[in-house]
């Protein structure tokens, strides 16, 4: 591989586009239509999540046409006592704007307590994105550390670490996370426990992926050269082994963000994740599944939001995989 890269680039040396590196990879991804759409989804969803985190800006930039009342309804009421609605307006159950009986004041309608659905979906973005990234980050850091050390040292270190990790892997992820959440939270589950649980549960796969790459990277001459120059093992792993083994991990991490969103939404649906009144998509589904016949939009909006987000990460991940795989010609 190194040889072909070298030969390819010798002619274009100094001039023209580089055929390796970050920009090149992103260019490759953009050429793939599905992956490009995935990237747009990720960018938009992340953007929405970031801006929904700023209360004041949310009102002005993203949701200018939505009433203060609705925003108040989306937030925990105790923090905003002035926004408690006047009696009589509660328990409005308004359908989306395009359906009969809907209005553009609430484009996606309201939930059965009269809270604006668009606002809640937008707020839900913040939680879902945070959940996806944080859970994946935990799994990535833990998995890469364990897998790289196991793969680099081999022998009994490898055996001990990987057997431990495989033991975790043998337990169904959902059961593991539910048990973890219940015990660590002391019976009061919250989304943060679910996130940590999902992160820990994804460590095994991350460590297995990077370990298999480290096994071949550690045999490379530049690793031997670093050892021969007296570089410490820790620095060899950090500076030389991990960066060269990272491509498949990166691809898996992108896919895992979507998976984590999905799993945490599922946990919230089951009641082990976000608790009311937090506007989490999964929790909203939990709330609304009893009303599926009378008010189907309660279930449709969060479902669509979850689907689009997860699909976005999956499309982008697939595109990234193709871009990073030297065997696929673009």
């Amino acid at each position: 591989m190194a040889t072909t890269e070298g030969q390819l680039d010798e002619t274009a040396e100094g001039t023209g586009e580089a055929r390796v590196g970050w920009r090149h990879t992103i260019d490759q991804v953009k050429r793939d239509t599905t992956a490009r759409w995935g990237m747009y989804v990720i960018v938009i969803v992340t953007f929405v999540a970031l801006f929904s985190a700023l209360d004041a800006n949310l009102n002005r930039l993203t949701l200018g046409h939505i009433s203060n009342y609705a925003i108040g309804q989306a937030l925990p009421l105790l923090e905003h006592p002035e926004r408690i609605p006047p009696p009589g307006e509660i328990y409005r159950n308004e359908p989306p704007a395009f359906a009969e009986g809907g209005s553009w004041e609430h484009p996606m309608g309201t939930d059965h307590e009269g809270r604006d659905y668009l606002t809640r979906i937008v707020y839900g973005t913040r939680i879902s994105i945070a959940v996806g990234f944080v859970a994946t980050f935990i799994g990535l850091v833990g998995g890469v550390a364990i897998g790289a050390v196991a793969g680099y040292y081999g022998g009994w270190v490898d055996d001990a670490l990987m057997r431990f990790v495989e033991t975790i892997y043998a337990i169904p992820a959902l059961v593991l996370v539910i048990v973890f959440t219940v015990f660590v939270s002391g019976g009061r589950p919250d989304v943060i426990y679910a996130v940590v649980g999902v992160g820990l549960a994804s460590i095994p796969v991350f460590s297995r992926i990077i370990r298999s790459r480290v096994l071949s990277v550690r045999e490379m001459d530049y690793i031997e050269a670093a050892r021969a120059a007296g570089v410490k093992d820790r620095n060899i792993i950090m500076r030389h082994v991990i960066p060269n083994s990272f491509a498949p991990v990166l691809v898996y991490a992108t896919l895992q963000v979507g998976v984590a969103v999905l799993i945490v939404a599922g946990l919230s649906f089951l009641g082990y994740g976000a608790q009311p009144p937090t506007p989490d998509w999964g929790q909203m589904l939990n709330y609304s599944h009893g009303l599926m016949h009378s008010s189907p939009w309660h279930s449709i909006w969060p479902g669509v939001a979850i689907m689009i987000t997860v699909a976005g990460f999956n499309f982008f991940g697939d595109g990234l995989q193709d871009a990073l795989d030297p065997r696929i010609e673009n």
Binding site: A2, T3, E5, G6, D9, E10, E13, G14, V20, G154, G155, M220, D221, Y222, E224, A225, A226, R227, A228, A229, G230, V231, K232, R239, H240, P243, N244
Partner: protein
Amino acid sequence: MSVPGETILTVEDLKTYFYTEGGVVQAVDGISFDVRAGEIVGVVGESGAGKSVATTSILRLLDDAGEIVSGEITYRDTTIVGFEEAEEGGELVPRDDMLTKSEMRKEIRGNEIAIIFQDPMESLNPVYKVGSQIREFIELNRDLEGEDAKEEAIEMLREVGIPEPENRYDDYPHQFSGGMRQRVLIAMALGCRPSLIIADEPTTALDVTVEGQILDLVDDLRDEYGTSFIWVTHDMGVVAEICDRVNVMYLGQIVEQGPVDDIFHDTQHPYTESLLASIPRPDKTVEDLNPIAGVMPQAMNPPRGCRFHTRCPDAREACRDIEPRFVDVGEAPSHRAACLKHDDVGYWDSVPIENESRDGVVADEEPPAGGQETEAGR
């Protein structure tokens, strides 16, 4: 720097074995040689002779399966490898004055003994700029940091003949050609200011023009910095060009050693003769080429007696049973060879045997006891 001519590295009766599933591979089986300050010592032999294992043993960089089982390696006054008999059982155990792993890393690797690997395409980390890799090694092994280390790295690039070193500092390895990368590797090794550089077939992957340039460069650098080299190669032509003294290895043992002129003009071992006869030359066609018959036997189950007797054109009955001693031969004082011809043990009275050098088949050698070719030869 060291006094020219002073012995800086001594290897005595080094044995490195690999413990594989198929059995014990005696990759290096009792070799002795030394290196003096400012000289280039060649280690030459076919693939699988144990050359690379011998040199990696010096830095104690063996794989998990490999182990130095006995022998002494002394670098100046420090003991890199040393053994003593245990009080109980008489087994060989490492001596107390042998450097620990972390002492090896801090005191020897890089700053005293550096190594250049065979494949310049794979010896540079593809994700870092060439300059920062040289700089990493310089910062690690010398009292230079930050901008000073960077300047030194650029200076090293200039020293090894890379044009526009300031600009090339920020290039990635894939932007260099093979010969240029080999220069970078030399700069990396040299940047650590070691007294000894082990070059493990560094020009094998290069074409002859570039090879010639690299050999000239090494010769100049040796004169300038007084660095010693151990030059591992299978190419007698390279040996002739730059080496001062030569060790010829066959199947884990040194069969002949001496000054380069004597090895070439006063050859005393049939294996060395065969190596010399197999050098391709412009005045010979392929049909005229005279390769060494057969392949090297497995180091897991080496032939009894003289290890070369299965392929030696001069083999006689005595060679099957008697292991040749390493004796002084020829004119030069330090010229030694391990061949029964030079020993009074009845070689000349016994009859020649049939072997691979005569009819291309193994005469009566037992088939190797299972197991595939292992990593022993690299």
